[in-house]
């Protein structure tokens, strides 16, 4: 298996997944003190990004509808 092209891709993918897992483990816990302003800022940021993503989807939807 490792000698075939597909095998090499599979190995590469596995090592990438392992690297990502290691990074997730390494940075598992946030090191910043979760004070109220920090929690508020992160929550606001999440809401902001969700709204932006919804707007992007809406734009693509309107583009698709007008192209039909």
């Amino acid at each position: 298996m490792p000698h075939t092209f597909l095998g090499m891709i599979a190995d590469g993918f596995k090592s990438l997944v392992n690297a990502v897992k290691e990074i997730n483990k390494k940075y598992d816990k946030p090191h910043i003190k979760m004070s109220k302003p920090v929690i508020f800022a992160l929550l606001t940021l999440r809401i902001y990004l969700i709204v932006l993503v919804l707007l992007l989807f809406y734009k693509f939807y309107t583009l698709l509808v007008t192209h039909k």
């Binding site: 690297a19 990074i23 390494k26 940075y27 910043i32 003190k33 800022a41 992160l42 993503v53």
Partner: protein, 423 residues
């Protein structure tokens, strides 16, 4: 005798300070001058053509704005010894880390394409085919990084930064009215017609080009790669301030050139402006074309490095320009992958380049607020920054600037998506 001794002492002190600065100068100057990338030059050219000198005062105001944001990256990099991507992972965990990293790479890659569009357009004025320009740029940028020394790379980039000052002699060639310039530079006012939607869009475009997400990641990583320490923070700040001064100077003189000669023309981009200037004065047209190419090159150099540094930091690869290719293969592979793939996109016949240019502004809006918010939060963290955390004055100034940038860049991004949004 005492006077001479005093003078000699002051001279020695000044010379020593200058030498220290020259050793530590680089990240601030480069990031600020590269901030005037191909997209930036296009924005200034269009600003001059549409509003003559009336927005010069606004450009001057953007200098301190850029300084206050970028200065924070100097402190954060020097104290934590981490690039911005790694600092986000460390402080806020994997969710925000991966979000920032992938958003950065996507934004950088798309911006890199716009730099190639600018460079190929500039060289096409001299009848150089896009494919030759793209290959030459990839070879040049490859040669710059494989030297295996951060110092060498930095000094080569400084030469290109110097070339960006071409707009200064260009402005002197056309003898603009000094009294007009002084009035428009120091008396804030709206152009005739007042604050219209078009003007608001232009102001947002100028802000958008002054603070870009890649700048935050680039300068912090460069500070770390240059091995700057806490004691070097003052020099880093001075470097950033001088860079902010030059970024304003370049924008200022670029607007003067197009405001004087192309005011009222329907200019859409910098290459078109260069062609029109060629018919008025071939030297001016040449200056603008070379300046546009140089701006694109500087932008491309910094943007591709910002992403490679960020990936290297997070994945734990060797990621310094002081490493040879053999010592940091993945860092260089990633750098060349970004560079070459962006170049190839520009060469694809019928590639949606205008759509990409618009899309960059929208994607940047998803990254810029988070990068700025993380910057403010990290700079307020006692355990991260110690005595170098934001003072009350810095917090008031920076939070005000960040809120204004977020609101305006969001409006800019949304009005790019929905052109009738502000009408």
């Amino acid at each position: 005798m005492n006077v001479w001794a005093n003078l000699f002492y002051k001279y020695r002190k000044f010379w020593k300070a200058l030498k220290t600065y020259l050793i530590l100068a680089g990240p601030g100057l480069i990031v600020m001058i590269a901030d005037n990338d191909a997209g930036g030059i296009t924005t200034y050219v269009v600003t001059g053509a549409q509003y003559k000198y009336h927005l010069l005062w606004f450009l001057i105001l953007l200098g301190p704005v850029a300084y206050y944001v970028q200065e924070m990256t100097v402190r954060l990099g020097a104290v934590t010894k981490r690039g911005h991507a790694e600092a986000i992972f460390h402080a806020f965990g994997p969710f925000w880390g991966w979000f920032s990293l992938f958003d950065l790479v996507l934004t950088d890659w798309l911006t890199l394409i716009t730099e190639f569009i600018g460079m190929t357009a500039a060289m096409s004025i001299f009848h150089i085919p896009a494919v030759i320009t793209t290959i030459a740029v990839c070879v040049l940028m490859g040669w710059m990084v494989i030297q295996g020394r951060y110092w060498t790379w930095e000094k080569i980039v400084m030469v290109f930064c110097g070339l960006n000052l071409l707009y200064v002699p260009a402005a002197f060639l056309i003898h603009p009215s000094v009294s007009d310039l002084l009035y428009n530079s120091f008396v804030p006012h709206w152009p005739p017609g007042g604050l219209t939607n078009d003007l608001f869009f232009m102001l947002m475009a100028n802000i958008g080009t002054t603070i870009a997400p890649w700048m935050i990641f680039f300068q912090q990583s460069a500070v770390v790669d240059k091995n700057m320490r806490e004691k070097d923070i003052l020099w880093g700040k001075i470097d950033t301030a001088i860079g902010a001064f030059f970024t304003v100077v370049i924008a200022f003189f670029c607007v003067i050139v197009t405001g004087t000669l192309l005011f009222g023309s329907n200019i859409q981009d910098a290459a078109q402006a260069a062609i029109q200037l060629m018919s008025i004065n071939k030297y001016l047209g040449t200056f603008l074309a070379i300046g546009l190419f140089d701006a694109g090159l500087l932008g491309a150099v910094c943007i591709s490095l910002a992403s490679s540094w960020a990936f290297g930091e997070v994945f734990g690869w060797a990621h310094s320009l002081n490493n040879k290719v053999k010592e940091a293969p993945w860092f260089y592979v990633f750098y060349f992958f970004l560079l070459i793939s962006a170049g190839i996109v520009v060469l694809i016949p019928g590639a949606p380049l205008i759509l990409i240019t618009l899309f960059v502004q929208v994607i940047a809006v998803t990254l810029l607020p988070s990068a700025l918010v993380f910057l403010i939060l990290l700079l307020n963290s006692e355990e991260t920054m110690g005595q170098y955390k934001n003072s009350l004055f810095e917090n008031v100034t920076n939070i005000f600037i960040v809120v204004v940038i977020i609101v305006l860049s969001t409006l800019y991004g949304i009005s790019t998506l929905f052109p009738n949004f502000l009408k």
